[in-house]
């Protein structure tokens, strides 16, 4: 079996000799030439996804005011940010609705406006003035260029194989999976399917903690497994989990990002979310990596869940392939049901292409993971502590 190392691939990138293809192109190569040949021919496969990822947000440092002040109660364009950190550090979460416009403008919109370079109204208050921080109030406008650090730190992104959604009830449901029409009126799905990062390295052989990635139009990193990381979900013959499994925590410099790849969203009746553009390179180390990076939509499967049941374990309606979902309709109970994506496939493809050109131009080289992502952790529902219980 042909074996390559990341160091060898980086050497090729440096010389401008690396063969880099997108995950979509890899599907074709593996189909036509087989995984063995593909492993010899291709050095890097680039993935991409651009979908709503609620568990996202940004750390901001405003610089010290004069007199210094502890920013305890903080609003950015009337959106509450968390200030329970050192003096002028705050965290703004994507799903926080604004005090004045509710879910039509929230934390995600503040993040998008910051990236766009728009002035943001900051209001901060301190009910506990101290010798260190006597200041009690500040109201001013800031932009990303007037503040110190601004970096996205997203606790859960790039879900590995999110489940599709439908609605068996007789009323319309307004969900984070979009508007679900009654009586199985539609099915929505949230993934870039055969372009999606964790579907193309399903067992985390190359993607790990410390991996350098494309994030929001600039370079970012994987800092940890994401929250609710669930690697032990049932997997198919290719080692791909059938349903939501692994997740990633990501970091990157907000100041260098682009609103083309970070966008605010509002789901009517649900709330705000943030579209995050993520692209992860997969070094083709051997035939196994090539085979998995080349899996097509007809080989990748997910489950459709019934959102009519408001439970933390919603019933599974059926298992489907992404080829079926992406065809525009699936069959449920003998009836054809329209499908629609939440993730922009066009822009996911654009991200994979963008990352490919960075690598080809020698502007982006690959990293060895600093540590692997956990493969045996268990995802649990809310479990209150009971003395004496396990």
């Amino acid at each position: 079996m042909a074996q390559k190392t990341i160091a060898e691939i980086n050497e090729k990138i440096k010389k401008g000799e690396a063969v880099v293809v997108t995950a979509e192109e890899m599907v074709e190569i593996v189909k036509n030439e087989g995984a063995k040949k593909a492993a010899q021919k291709v050095d890097v496969v680039t993935t991409g996804t651009f979908g709503p990822m609620c568990s996202s947000g940004a750390f901001l440092n405003f610089g010290h005011t004069n007199p210094p002040m502890k920013f305890f109660e903080v609003y950015l364009n009337e959106v509450v940010a968390y200030g329970g950190l050192a003096a002028c550090d705050v965290y703004i979460g994507a799903t926080q609705p604004s005090e004045d416009r509710g879910i039509e403008y929230g934390g995600a919109h503040v993040i998008e406006d910051l990236i766009a370079g728009k002035p943001i109204r900051l209001a901060a208050y301190n009910k506990w003035p101290t010798d260190c921080y006597p200041g009690t109030e500040i109201e001013a406008f800031i932009t990303k260029d007037t503040i110190n650090e601004a970096y996205l730190y997203n606790p859960r992104n790039a879900y590995q194989n999110y489940a599709a959604a439908t609605n068996s009830s007789n009323r319309t449901l307004k969900t984070y999976m979009g508007i679900l029409l009654p009586n199985f009126g539609n099915v929505t799905y949230s993934t870039a399917a055969q372009l999606s990062p964790l579907l193309k390295d399903p067992e985390y052989r190359t993607i790990g903690i410390g991996t350098r990635i494309f994030l929001g139009g600039t370079v970012g990193y994987i800092v940890w497994q994401g929250t609710q990381h669930n690697p032990t979900r049932k997997r198919d013959e290719n080692g791909v989990p059938v349903g939501p499994a692994g997740t990633l925590a990501l970091i990157g410099n907000l100041k260098e990002m682009s609103t083309r790849y970070i966008r605010a969203a509002t789901y009517t009746g649900y709330g705000c979310s943030l579209f995050v553009g993520v692209g992860i390179p997969i070094p083709v180390l051997d035939e196994d990596v090539a085979h998995k990076a080349g899996l097509s939509d007809s080989e990748l499967k997910t489950i459709i869940l019934d959102y009519a049941v408001p439970s933390n374990s919603r019933p599974i309606i059926k298992e489907v392939t992404y080829a079926e979902l992406r065809s525009g309709e699936v069959e449920i109970n003998g009836k054809k049901v329209k499908t629609a994506p939440l993730t922009s496939y066009a822009r996911s493809r654009e991200i994979a292409e963008q990352l490919k050109s960075w690598i080809k131009e020698g502007r982006f080289n690959l990293t060895e993971p600093v540590a692997p992502l956990p493969k045996d952790s268990v995802f649990r529902p809310f479990t209150p502590y009971r003395e004496g219980a396990e």
Binding site: F50, G178, N186, A264, Y267, T268, A340, Y345, A346, R347
Partner: protein, 133 residues
């Protein structure tokens, strides 16, 4: 004259041959764009209607007497291409597939097929779709 109209039929009228009367009694030319008519349910018919103004107006009067709601499509749905990030979520709630993803996964809008149901407006996560009067 030529007008695009939405006719909403109360359940009791869906069994009546309404379009027949429009053609036969009022000499109208009807091009049906979309129709969803099932027994016992509220029906919707979207059509482009051509005919003489006088007869057209009489036909509207006839329809109203039958309890059928007549709306003229003087409005347009507009898609802000700059704001839209082409997720495609709107395509799943569009009953006539006026909004659809093409083979390259770019969003397309076929205005002719739009029946102004406005489902897409509240669905669009970037609020890129609006009603223009």
């Amino acid at each position: 004259m030529k007008k695009k109209v939405v006719l909403t039929f109360p359940p009791k009228t869906v069994t009546k041959p309404i379009t027949y009367h429009l053609v036969k009694d009022y000499n109208l030319v009807i091009n049906i764009i979309y129709a969803k008519i099932e027994q016992g349910e509220t029906g919707v018919l979207v059509a482009e209607i051509r005919g003489k103004k006088e007869e057209f107006n009489k036909a509207v009067e006839f329809l109203s007497k039958q309890g059928i709601r007549v709306q003229f499509l003087a409005q347009d749905i507009i898609l802000d291409q700059e704001r839209c990030m082409e997720c495609g979520l709107c395509t799943g709630v569009c009953p006539t597939s006026a909004l659809y993803l093409d083979s390259d996964w770019h969003i397309q809008f076929d205005k002719e097929k739009c029946i102004l149901c406005e489902n897409c407006i509240q669905t669009c996560p970037t609020r890129s779709i609006a009603l223009r009067i």
